[in-house]
């Protein structure tokens, strides 16, 4: 099978950069010697940090899970070698912030004893896809092109966007970096196994395997492996060397002329993009049962004596890699993780290699000079010419500087991929990308603030509403009570019962009088008369009658007067 002709497309902008790749390809790949300590960060991926399963003092074996994923977008981390956990604490990690993060520190025992390895699945074609997916998740595989997004998440496509095209990213467009190149040269068959696994998991019909044409050996090896495996659904495509062709969006544009809609992912247009190293790691995990505990790292730049590629265990201190590359030269001024265009600088080499560490660039002052003071923008438009997202960086810069976040978003700030092309070409040496990062961070902060303010407002309004409701209820109750009290005043009681109902005092008096009368009548019935009323004289009897009458009258008056006085 010969190379198929594939139409290529062009994205706007981009730069031809001196690629500086040959330096690190002169020496063969080498293993980094087992370090005394492995420092394994709990979070080496985008998403939730992993949750430790071990405690200080535990003895762990190579490949043991040290921490399990927490949440869906998360990945476990594994012991890269056997030894004893001596600490679980915050350690310096390779991160642009320079902040520390929780790491499991293993004192290695030098035995490299494997623990309970995952079951190899050489017959992955027969295995249920959900088991394969679970395996990839349990192996802690993340996107190894730099973004470190948990791979298993990307391998679980939604129903609404079926994947028809798998894109394998072998572009490696950043200058200096050669670890993917070397991997493709030496591990082509295994990479293709990984590609096959991915294709089966997502149900893609075809695969476009893009490699920049400055890697002829890699292209040859991959093509050879494709022919050998008979994978006629893979097209190996040499793409022009133009930074940033290795950007997911740019690569898809070059290979298919399709643009991922702004703010969306490739799945939206039925595509899935994975890096070659990720495919390799997937094959190792599925076919060999090896979790992600090592990776290829390019150590290069004028700042090291013997630039080369090294296979390093995750957690190996950067200093050990530098030492294995012959140590620093006298000219070294900066230590960069990643490439010169998008990488970030480290303050110290006492940080570990993580799953996302693809390159250590020890640069001298010519390779990575201090930019010097920025001059005013002369609106030359070179940034716009170079921008692969077809943005207007100078306008965005203007509004970012003025902190007019709304305006800078109107100029599509969030389509900026921070590739650094604009900063690179700016004759005034304005750190444009830094302004855009600043504007993005400010926008996120503002959005967060707005959400918080919105919640506070809603809470406040709910509180006000509750207060109003309580007040209204209280008033309604009072009004009801008043109305209830007012009713009997308007009409005089027309019977004792009615009166009694209305006034307990009067009722009590009436009841007492009634009881007295009944008692009297009862006694009279029985022919019993009170002794003190027996044998009364007429005058006495009359006096008693008058007193009775007066009493009755008084009581009625009292009740009436009390009512009227209310």
């Amino acid at each position: 099978m010969s190379k198929q002709k594939h139409t290529l497309y062009r994205f706007h902008g981009g730069l031809h950069l001196p690629d500086n790749k040959s330096q690190s390809l002169k020496l063969p790949l080498e293993q980094v010697a087992l370090p005394k300590q492995l420092i394994i960060p709990l979070q080496q991926h985008i998403g939730e940090s992993a949750e430790p399963l071990v405690k200080v003092g535990d003895h762990v074996l190579k490949g043991d899970m040290l921490a399990k994923p927490q949440g869906y977008v998360s990945a476990p981390v594994h012991a890269s070698s056997s030894g004893t956990v001596v600490a679980i604490e915050a350690q310096p990690i390779p991160h642009p912030s320079g902040l520390r993060a929780d790491c499991v520190v293993i004192e290695t025992d030098g035995k490299e004893t494997w623990g309970n390895q995952l079951e190899p699945m050489p017959d992955y074609r027969e295995v249920d896809p959900s088991l394969v997916r679970e395996r990839i998740r349990n192996a802690g595989i993340v996107g190894m092109g730099g973004a470190a997004f948990p791979a298993s998440v990307k391998l679980t496509p939604g129903q609404e966007n079926p994947i028809h095209t798998l894109i394998i990213n072998g572009a490696e467009c950043e200058p200096y970096i050669t670890c993917d190149d070397l991997l493709m040269q030496t591990q082509a068959e295994k990479i293709l196994l990984g590609v096959d696994i991915i294709r089966r998991l997502v149900g893609a019909e075809r695969c476009l395997f893009g490699i920049e044409d400055n890697k002829p050996k890699a292209i040859e090896q991959i093509q050879l492996a494709v022919n050998e495996a008979g994978f006629d659904w893979i097209s190996v495509i040499a793409i022009p060397t133009l930074y940033p062709s290795g950007g997911e969006k740019q690569l898809i544009k070059v290979l298919t002329d399709q643009e991922i809609p702004s703010g969306s992912i490739p799945a939206k247009i039925g595509m899935l993009c994975h890096n070659v190293t990720t495919a390799f790691a997937i094959a190792e995990a599925v076919v060999d049962g090896k979790p992600l505990i090592s990776r290829y790292v390019t150590v290069t730049g004028n700042g090291v004596r013997q630039p080369r590629n090294l296979e390093a265990l995750i957690g190996t201190p950067v200093a050990a890699l530098i030492a294995q590359a012959g140590g620093y030269t006298d000219q070294v001024t900066k230590l960069i993780v990643g490439g010169p265009m998008m990488g970030f600088t480290l303050t110290t080499d006492q940080v570990p290699v993580t799953k996302a560490t693809n390159c250590l660039l020890a640069a001298d002052s010519h390779e990575a000079p201090d930019p010097g003071p920025a001059l005013p923008c002369i609106r030359c438009g070179r940034c716009a010419d170079a921008c692969p997202a077809n943005l207007l960086p100078q306008q965005m810069y203007w509004y970012a500087r003025a902190k007019d976040l709304e305006k800078v978003q109107e100029y599509n700030l969030f389509d900026c991929i921070e590739c650094g092309c604009c900063s690179h070409v700016c004759p005034s040496h304005i750190p444009l990308v830094q302004y855009f990062r600043f504007a993005k961070t400010e926008s996120w902060a503002q959005e967060k603030e707005q959400r918080a303010a919105e919640r506070a407002r809603q809470r406040h309004e709910a509180q006000l509403a509750r207060k109003e409701r309580l007040e209204a209820e209280r008033k309604a109750k009072l009004r009801k009570k008043k109305e209830a009290l007012k009713k009997p005043v308007r009409k005089q009681p027309d019977s004792d019962v009615a009166g009694a109902e209305a006034d307990p005092k009067k009722a009590a008096i009436a009841a007492a009088l009634k009881r007295a009368a009944e008692k009297k009548a009862k006694l009279a019935e029985q022919g019993i008369a009170p002794k003190n009323q027996a044998n009364l004289s007429d005058s006495q009897q009359k006096a008693i009658d008058r007193a009775d009458q007066r009493r009755t009258e008084n009581q009625t008056d009292a009740v009436t007067s009390e009512k009227q006085g209310e």
């Binding site: 994205f11 706007h12 642009p96 320079g98 200058p175 969006k249 544009k253 643009e259 991922i260 809609p261 702004s262 703010g263 620093y328 900066k334 230590l335 960069i336 990643g338 010169p340 265009m341 990488g343 970030f344 600088t345 303050t347 110290t348 080499d349 660039l361 640069a363 010519h366 390779e367 990575a368 000079p369 201090d370 930019p371 003071p373 001059l375 005013p376 923008c377 002369i378 609106r379 030359c380 438009g381 070179r382 716009a384 692969p388 997202a389 077809n390 943005l391 207007l392 100078q394 306008q395 389509d415 650094g420 900063s423 690179h424 070409v425 700016c426 004759p427 005034s428 040496h429 990308v433």
Partner: protein, 347 residues
């Protein structure tokens, strides 16, 4: 070991403002040399005088603004402004007008808005227009090109005229100077003379005014060098020259005796200098590609309109300044469609 940290990218930057300005100055030299060749030492004296004035004004402004002087003077933008002004004004312009013009350009057009990058107008053209409307006689007193000049002045004589105003014995301004080709052309056309008749005069070469067409050639060469070096893009010069050429040819086709042919407009006056060195001034021009096409084409159209029906013979400065005003608005309405966005952008 501790390393210095900065944000990406960490690459060696290929461009700088100073390099850009020096390239433009370099590209200007063939045309400037041709101007000196055809119009005498006065041009060179003006270039020197203007440069010194510009640097002095820039330094003064930075001192007044309490900013570091050297990095700003060292970017060569003031020198470039001075040189562009000097090749645009007459060779024997009195020294104080050159000083006045350049001081106005640097202090009032550039620094008062905040210096390089902030000026809405092209400083050299604003100064040119200021002098043209204020001192029309001095600003239109051009020497004849070398091949027609009966009284070529030596360097010292030129300097003497410029700095003292004293003409060499036996000469007066009327014998020394003559109308520019553009002035001659449109004055005579206004007098209803036929184009074929006007063109028999010795003032004309193959395309435009004698001498002028050659200076234009060398400015064109410098412009091509800037295009090759990617200091400027093709959009503004091509659209400006294209629109001027097309509309001039159209009118010439309609009335061959009343409207000069297309190439006349290109190779006479400041058209080529304007197309490659003035209209392309990044600070005051449009920055979007579509905007640049519109901007350039509008300048070409305005040049034709002002030359043909306006009061001033040469129109490049006016056209550029008018379009400077429109540039921000044009930019706003010609934003490119960002990657992954539907449709043809915000229109």
């Amino acid at each position: 070991m501790r390393f210095t940290t900065i944000t990406s990218p960490h690459s060696d930057r290929p461009n700088s403002v100073r390099k850009t300005m020096l390239l433009v100055i370099l590209a200007l030299m063939p045309g400037a040399a041709a101007m000196i060749w055809f119009f005498g030492w006065g041009i060179l004296i003006n270039m020197l005088l203007a440069s010194v004035t510009a640097v002095a004004c820039e330094a003064l402004a930075m001192r007044l603004r309490k900013r570091p002087v050297l990095p700003v003077v060292g970017d060569f933008s003031a020198v470039l402004t001075a040189l562009l002004f000097a090749v645009a004004v007459p060779p024997l312009l009195p020294w104080w007008l050159t000083v006045l013009g350049v001081a106005f350009a640097i202090l009032m057009v550039k620094q008062i808005y905040g210096g390089l990058g902030y000026n809405p107008f092209n400083p050299a053209m604003a100064a040119y227009v200021l002098l043209l409307v204020s001192y029309p006689v001095q600003m239109t007193s051009w020497l004849p090109p070398a091949m027609l000049n009966e009284y070529p002045l030596t360097f010292l004589q030129s300097a003497s005229v410029i700095f003292t105003g004293a003409l060499p014995d036996g000469l007066d301004w009327d014998t020394l100077t003559m109308a520019t080709p553009l002035d001659a052309m449109f004055t005579q056309l206004d007098q209803s003379r036929m184009l074929s008749e006007i063109l028999t005069q010795p003032l004309w070469g193959d395309f435009g005014g004698r001498g002028w067409e050659w200076a234009g050639n060398w400015f064109l060469l410098g412009g091509l060098f800037l295009l090759y070096k990617r200091v400027i893009s093709w959009h503004i010069p091509v659209s400006m020259l294209g629109s001027l050429l097309v509309i001039a040819m159209l009118f010439h086709f309609l009335d061959q005796e009343a409207y000069p042919f297309g190439m006349f407009h290109i190779f006479t006056g400041g058209t080529l200098l304007g197309a490659f060195f003035i209209a392309t001034d990044p600070v005051s021009a449009c920055t979007t590609r579509k905007g640049q096409l519109l901007y350039g084409a509008s300048i070409g159209l305005l040049v034709f309109i002002i030359r043909t029906w306006g009061g001033y013979p040469d129109a490049v400065a006016f056209a550029v300044l008018l379009m400077n005003m429109a540039a921000p608005t044009i930019d706003y309405y010609t934003q490119p469609r960002a990657f992954g966005h539907p449709g043809a952008g915000r229109d």
